[in-house]
């Protein structure tokens, strides 16, 4: 690769675009300043050609460090905050890590990694390191109980969908995301802000939703993304009333009609879009017509460099935005022989649209029949008094398993109406689902667990 073909994140921070910021509740950093200031004490050059583990507790320093390290290191492995420390050793070996960037250097003195660089605030003046190479970005899969898989990307692939869309029209967007930027969904928004000429307001673990929304408002957020579970929580909180974004994006879970309609009602002036993306398959497509699922015509043709097909009910994607490989000693192939990534997301054709029905690995077994809990939840969520639901299997001495559902009702629903609502949900389910998919028991619950990656927790799946 000739040097002029290398482009790194810092190349998007030109001084002509002043006034852009990266912020969390405590700090506001000018993106342009990162060209002359460093959170690594000006030591980024020492990471030249290294395989770097980025293990920083907060997103702000992580984002600045990513900009400083991209184009310098050979590899950069992003650790999400919920990473189980017990998995670190295996990940370090599989990625060949030989340098760590961390805000807790004292914790890494005995780790056997020679180079440990502290990530610190405030930023200190430093000369910018030159872009030498296309750094490989390593991300971890979420949702598996064992050691997460390491997925290898390039900045070119990660930013493919962003570059394809071109610069945003109108005033520079102020982005926010409920995701952590060290997860694929959050990294996309970080890159959108940096590459697309905008700003980014970071989320903060543990921050009350009302405080978070107040901060989004104070910083003038115009564009925001999250999972359907994130959005349902916001709709339930009542905090949405004070918020007026221009663009609302959902990804990471199935966006059913109920959540799309709920967001359209809460933000009548915003465009609401749902995107399909995964850590392995990259950004597939975005759907902006307000309807769940996607037009059947998107399958089988090459659209903006993304080809999709359906094999055995699961969506397969081939594009330059997919990851290029799983990384590690026992890494499985990421694509089939033709270069398609099997997403494991199951779809079903209804009329002229494909609808997502669930994960292949999330199927529950009901008396020998396979059931996607998401399909049941989508029906339950259509009831006007329902905010969120989770279907799961419960052991039965008679059929082996039955479907039960936990349901969160909209705020202020009269408890006296529970029986009536339960009967209505049952009637709705019986009309739209095969009998073995109809919940045997519906429980009304105050909360449902959401994983650190923003997805409905399905521990029993």
């Amino acid at each position: 690769m000739s040097p002029r073909e290398i482009f790194a994140l810092r190349d998007y921070l030109g001084p002509e675009k002043k006034g852009r910021t990266l912020s969390d509740p405590r700090h506001v950093v000018s993106l342009t300043d990162i060209l002359s200031l460093s959170c690594l004490g000006g030591r980024a050059r020492e990471l030249s050609g290294r395989n770097v583990l980025l293990a920083i507790s907060d997103q702000l320093r992580s984002g600045i460090a990513m900009i400083e390290i991209d184009g310098v290191a050979r590899r950069m492995l992003l650790c999400p905050p919920d990473l189980n420390p017990a998995h670190l050793k295996a990940l370090i070996e599989d990625a060949g890590i030989d340098a760590v960037v961390t805000d807790t250097p004292e914790a890494w003195t005995d780790c056997g990694i020679a180079l440990v660089i502290a990530a610190q605030l405030p930023l200190v003046p430093a000369e910018v390191a030159p872009s030498e190479r296309a750094t490989e970005w390593l991300m971890l899969t979420s949702g598996t109980s064992g050691v997460p898989k390491i997925v290898g990307h390039t900045l070119e692939g990660l930013s493919g969908a962003i570059v394809a869309e071109g610069p945003s029209r109108g005033p520079a967007p102020v982005w926010a995301t409920f995701y952590d930027i060290r997860r694929y969904g959050g990294l996309q928004i970080f890159l959108r802000a940096v590459i697309g000429g905008g700003s980014l307001v970071l989320s903060e673990p543990g921050e009350a939703l009302a405080d978070h929304v107040a901060r989004l408002n104070a910083r003038g957020v115009t564009h925001i993304s999250g999972t359907p579970s994130h959005w349902r929580k916001l709709l339930m909180s009542g905090a949405a009333a004070q918020f007026d974004p221009r663009y609302v994006r959902l990804s990471g879970e199935i966006a059913d009609q109920a959540v799309l309609d709920g967001l359209k009602a809460a933000f009548p002036d915003a465009s609401v879009g749902h995107a399909y993306a995964s850590t392995e398959a990259g950004v597939g497509f975005a759907v902006n017509d307000g309807l769940e699922g996607f037009p059947a015509g998107m399958i089988g043709q090459n659209r903006n460099g993304v080809e999709m097909k359906i094999v055995d009910g699961s969506l397969r994607i081939r594009s330059r935005r997919t990851a290029h490989a799983y990384i590690g000693r026992n890494a499985a192939p990421l694509t089939d022989a033709d270069g398609f990534v099997d997403t494991g997301d199951m779809v079903e054709l209804r009329g002229d649209r494909y609808h997502f029905v669930g994960r292949r690995g999330g199927i529950i077994n009901i008396g020998g029949l396979k059931v996607h809990p998401e399909e049941i939840e989508a029906v339950i969520n259509r009831h006007a008094d329902v905010r969120m639901s989770r279907a799961k299997s419960r052991r039965s001495p008679i059929t082996g398993g039955i479907v039960v559902a936990d349901v969160i009702l909209a705020d202020g629903t009269d408890a006296a109406r529970e029986k009536e609502i339960r009967d209505q949900i049952m009637t709705q389910c019986r009309a739209q689902l095969a009998s073995h998919k109809v919940p045997a028991v519906i429980r009304f619950v105050p909360t449902l667990d959401v994983t650190p990656a923003g997805k409905l927790a399905r521990t029993d799946a």
């Binding site: 008396g367 419960r394 052991r395 039965s396 001495p397 008679i398 059929t399 039955i402 039960v404 049952m426 019986r430 009998s435 073995h436 045997a440 028991v441 429980r443």
Partner: protein, 81 residues
Amino acid sequence: MSVRAKILTAIQQIAKEQQVTLPPLTDDLSLHETGFDSLAFAILVARLEDDLGSDPFTISEDAAFPHTVGDFVRAYENVPA
């Protein structure tokens, strides 16, 4: 409401949901004659577990599934508190 009354109410509710026409629920009516299939019984046992706090068919390994409505009710009445 007695255990028996709760069980009979639950059976009637499920019959309505599953669109099953029940014959009169006498003690010697065989469960087969209720018109319930295994899914309907699975729903019944799950709801009764939530309502009565017990599932006599899982707790006891040697419990044979009852033959009549009367046997079914007694299985719940005989669960030690």
